[in-house]
């Protein structure tokens, strides 16, 4: 290695790989993966989210799952949690909807109003 800049470049790249283990504040997408969610296609929804994030080379988003939250009717449900903002739950998220939510909400910060599950 001949320059410090080269090291810095490798460091930035490699950090994307380990960021998942750091904790801290970052955007989180939670997919409901209870039996109801899986039956309604949550597995495919999760794959679509993963694929969309990879396609856009987004590294600082955490994708995680949760169990049934009691709204089985609305499954697959995904929740987008962004630091400093209220969390938003989407219902009946198909693969296409999931891709759209990543593009609109996660990337551009625009909540996709029509698919949001209203909360009291």
């Amino acid at each position: 290695m001949k320059t410090v800049e080269e090291l810095e470049r490798i460091r930035k790249q490699a950090q994307a790989m380990t960021r998942l283990r750091e904790g801290g504040e970052t955007t989180k997408i939670v997919v409901g993966m209870g039996t109801c969610g899986i039956a309604a296609g949550a597995r495919e929804t999760l794959s679509a989210i993963m694929d969309e994030l990879a396609r856009r080379n987004i590294q600082d988003v955490i994708v995680t799952q949760t169990g049934c939250i009691g709204l089985c009717e609305q499954e697959p449900i995904i929740t987008v949690v962004m630091p400093g903002r209220e969390k938003v739950a989407y219902g009946k998220v198909s693969m296409e909807k999931a891709r759209k939510i990543v593009a609109s909400h996660v990337v551009n910060g625009q909540v996709v109003g029509e698919w949001v599950i209203p909360t009291g």
């Binding site: 320059t3 490798i10 380990t18 998942l20 283990r21 899986i38 794959s47 994030l53 799952q65 169990g67």
Partner: protein, 536 residues
């Protein structure tokens, strides 16, 4: 780059390997493949996570869930419930006691810990140089080579107050200074990884868990003192350490972080591994050098010291693994930052390996000056089965034995010697009240009698006599005269033995006589053991 939604860290430290973590890892990758999750979940074998008694240990991120004592049959449940459905398997979780554990409250186990040496252990994949670079790896070397003069580097290390962590507590900056000032055509850096102190396994776990931190520190030391070659002297039994260091050397060379003209600075540095054959005395630096040169592992007469006359008669810096692991963060963050940890006289942290009668056996790193009570009861979880604390041996077999009255003594390199003990390499052997002190003394002395290299008379004869006398006492044939001889002999050995082995072999006996004298007397006078557990 592949994007993963979850990382599963499988502790691959030797203690977990012995508990079968490899089988767990294979089951995990198999199960993930079966469910088609292998594209989105990454399995990583890391270095030691710390709670060695709970192995095999795995941690699932991003949740940071710690699973303890995982067996192959637990794997399908963890994969299906946690990794597929996102439901943490509570029946297998620990209490969230490690760094980065986000889903559980963090009790004292971690709050009292301060991880500088172990900053990457159990967090990164030790077989990946990229992951080391991601956590600021090789930035300290870059800083030294591009922004600092060698004398500045030595000055920072001096100012940090770092002292040798192998046991002798010699100021590291001063040591480097001697070698830097010595005039010679060639100089060497040796990393002493001949960790022979019974009950100590910190160096092994650092080498296994974060090999690049040692290589980076050696290159920094080389730059500071003007050496172009370094050696890691690792005991031959440490197979995984040797493998990881060799792998690290290859990776660093491939990236040009070792080798010729590093960072275009004109500085070149290479590292090789030398395997030791397992003699206890070879941890002593001159015996280590003797062994590297192909001679018998026996200490040399000092002075001259290795700093000016070391390997092949050339100026040589010999530093312990843990000492070196402190160097990169000190360079990056500065001496004042380092002085913010520990005590005024003894800054920084210390890695301890806890063994014996304690609930949480394993590897911890705490600020210097912490009390034994805090380590045992807050971090270690206390003594098992509700028994009473009897004694703690600090610093390995050649360290002193401290009774319960000493539980509040600050643990550092200056206070413990004042109590007749030593901090040493950081082995902590905890014993409850079911152990007979004379029995313990006998086993310690047997160790030294066997490990004495025989070069000097005080140690060769002394360790054998100490063992004979204590053995006699343990069998109920001792006299009061024996106790006097033990003290005299110990005194003579401390004053006259050639190296640390003979000088410190009597330390356990001296402290035992001081704090547990009545138990020895009971073995003589009543021919009875107060604990009722020894062979008497």
């Amino acid at each position: 780059m592949q994007f993963y939604r979850s990382h599963v860290l499988v502790c691959g430290g030797t203690p977990c390997v012995l508990e079968g973590c490899r089988a767990v890892r294979d089951a995990l990758t198999g199960e993930l493949k079966r469910l088609g999750l292998d594209e989105e979940i990454r399995v990583i074998e890391t270095g030691c996570l710390g709670p060695c008694a709970l192995g095999p240990v795995i941690v699932v991120y991003p949740e940071g869930t710690l699973y303890e004592k995982v067996t192959v049959s637990d794997v399908p449940q963890i994969v299906e419930e946690h990794l597929l459905k996102g439901r943490i398997v509570r029946s297998l979780t620990g209490e969230g006691r490690l760094r980065g554990i986000v889903s559980y409250e963090e009790p004292a186990y971690l709050e009292t810990q301060e991880r500088i040496v172990l900053r990457n252990c159990g967090i990164i994949d030790p077989s990946s140089i990229e992951e080391y670079i991601a956590s600021d790896g090789y930035r300290a070397l870059a800083k030294c080579l591009t922004e600092m003069e060698p004398c500045d580097v030595i000055e920072v290390v001096k100012q940090s107050g770092l002292v040798g962590r192998g046991g002798a507590a010699f100021p590291t900056g001063l040591k480097w200074g001697f070698t830097a000032n010595a005039d010679a055509d060639e100089k060497f850096i040796i990393c002493n990884a001949d960790e022979g102190e019974p009950g100590t396994f910190k160096d092994r776990l650092v080498l296994e868990g974060d090999p690049h931190s040692i290589l980076e520190a050696m290159a920094i030391a080389g730059y500071a003192v003007g050496a172009r070659r370094g050696f890691v002297y690792i005991r031959g039994e440490y197979g995984l350490s040797i493998h990881r260091i060799n792998q690290g050397i290859q990776q660093a060379k491939a990236m040009g972080l070792l080798g010729e003209d590093i960072f275009g600075s004109g500085f070149s540095f290479d590292v090789e591994v030398r395997k030791g054959a397992g003699a206890y005395v070879c941890g002593e630096e001159t015996a280590l050098i003797e062994s590297m040169e192909g001679g018998r592992g026996e200490p040399r007469f000092k002075p001259p010291y290795p700093g000016t006359h070391g390997f092949l008669g050339k100026p040589t810096v010999v530093n312990n693994v843990e000492t070196l692991a402190n160097i990169p963060p000190i360079i990056l963050n500065g001496a004042d930052w380092y002085r913010g940890f520990g005590t005024l006289r003894c800054p920084g942290t210390k890695v301890f390996t806890m063994t014996g009668d304690i609930n949480s056996k394993g590897l911890i790193e705490v600020p210097m000056g912490i009390t034994l009570r805090k380590i045992i009861y807050e971090i270690g979880g206390g003594i098992p089965e509700g028994r009473k604390f009897k004694m703690a041996q600090t610093g390995g077999t050649s360290g002193g034995c401290l009774p319960s009255e000493m539980l509040d003594v600050p643990m550092d390199y200056f206070t413990l010697p004042e109590m007749g003990s030593a901090l040493g390499s950081g082995a902590l052997l905890i014993m409850d009240d079911s152990h007979c002190i004379v029995d313990i003394a006998e086993s310690f002395m047997r160790f030294f009698a066997r490990e004495s290299c025989g070069k000097c008379v005080p140690c060769r004869e002394g360790t054998a006599r100490l063992h004979d006398i204590v053995k006699n006492l343990a069998q109920g044939n001792g006299t009061y005269e024996d106790l006097r001889v033990l003290k005299d002999l110990s005194h003579a050995m401390q004053k006259t033995a050639l190296c640390g082995l003979g000088q410190s072999a009597p330390i356990p006996i001296m402290t035992m006589l001081k704090y547990f004298g009545d138990e020895f007397e009971a073995h003589i006078k009543d021919r009875l053991c107060p604990t009722g557990t020894c062979r008497l």
